[in-house]
Symmetry: C2
Subunit: 210 residues, 2 copies
């Protein structure tokens, strides 16, 4: 097999990997050392072949009749997701959701290292939240360039979201994790990942109605 140059994987596959990872870590803590696709699949009501293909994507190879070595599989998934090393991130918008993210220390297990938080409100600038000194958004671009920050997190209200995204693009940020319920326009080459709670809620409330 030749190595693909443009590795683009399906969202669906990518989103299953954290589930597997969680299970694998639980199994490890129980002393289990190997696992089969059949077992993983049963846990999440998936087809074993699907799990096998997801794992294949990470580069891990198994052993017939035995399955996969959990320790090795965990490390392959982490490295495939980029969770084996942390990327520096700046957060813009210290409202309730912004605060929640600042307070969630586990993100560093998921490749994310929030290093600074910004806001426009004079009430917030200068205060400290979960150890983060809140900075004025006007300092964003210079600081992000200087520190070569790669990820921007947007937790501002919808109307300010595009402005925040523009700042991030200007600052040379490579990926934006957007929590604002607004459609953002970013240039080609900038990775944009929307984490819109209302979309998830839409699925729930629609099903509830039926």
């Amino acid at each position: 097999m030749t190595t693909k140059t443009s590795n683009t994987f399906s969202r669906s596959s990518l989103k299953r990997l954290p589930l597997y990872l969680h299970l694998l870590e639980n199994l490890t803590s129980q002393g289990v050392t190997s696992v089969s696709c059949t077992q993983i699949a049963k846990e999440f009501d998936l087809d074993p072949t699907l799990v096998r293909k997801d794992i294949e994507m990470t580069g891990e190879v198994g052993t017939a009749r035995v399955g996969f070595k959990i320790i090795s599989l965990i490390s392959k998934i982490k490295s495939f997701l980029g969770w084996d090393q942390q990327q520096d991130a700046f957060l813009v918008g210290v409202g309730n959701l912004g605060k929640a993210i600042l307070g969630y220390k586990d993100f560093n297990k998921y490749g994310l290292n929030v290093v600074a938080a910004f806001d426009n409100s004079p009430d917030k600038i200068g205060t400290k939240i979960f150890g983060y000194q809140i900075l004025s958004s006007s300092k964003f671009v210079n600081l992000a360039k200087r520190k070569k920050v790669t990820i921007g997190i947007i937790t501002v209200p919808a109307v300010f979201a595009q402005g925040a995204a523009d700042l991030m693009v200007e600052a040379g940020i490579k990926a934006i994790w957007n929590f604002a319920p607004a459609p953002l326009r970013v240039p080609d080459g900038i990775i944009l990942e929307n984490a819109r709670l209302t979309q998830s809620l839409a699925v729930l409330t629609n099903k509830l109605k039926s």
Copy 2:
């Protein structure tokens, strides 16, 4: 066309509707009264036919050469998503994320009415957060039954998530919105919607790595 008895719609379609809704509301506030699928599609880089099918799902019909009446379309989408009336919800787990949800007043635009919040920690029980009196989890089942609450929101740490879900099922809750990064087991018939931030983050960090 006969009316389907078991209306189950694709997640992908359902998740696009809130995007359309947001745009339509913006257009309305600008005084625009009608819109075509082509316009909507362009806004989100989608195929116009896809948008047309999504809209068809809501039951709205358009006019050839003119498009759709925005006011009517908005109301059809809202009603299709169940956002034209609110469902009562109880939240369990008043950590950072739980607080953020309690503080986000806009959820009532999305069919969700958070009426009470619960926690296990004696430090939190009895305190007030964003106007919500924090109650002991031990009161959850009785209160939820009495008030006929339909939605449960789980914002506890992963290890307590299954316990919270079990409480909710016992209390006769119909749908669970789960923010804990743990796989939950619920009986058939209970709607489970996972809002897992780590899945979204996985897509972002993987792309960043390439």
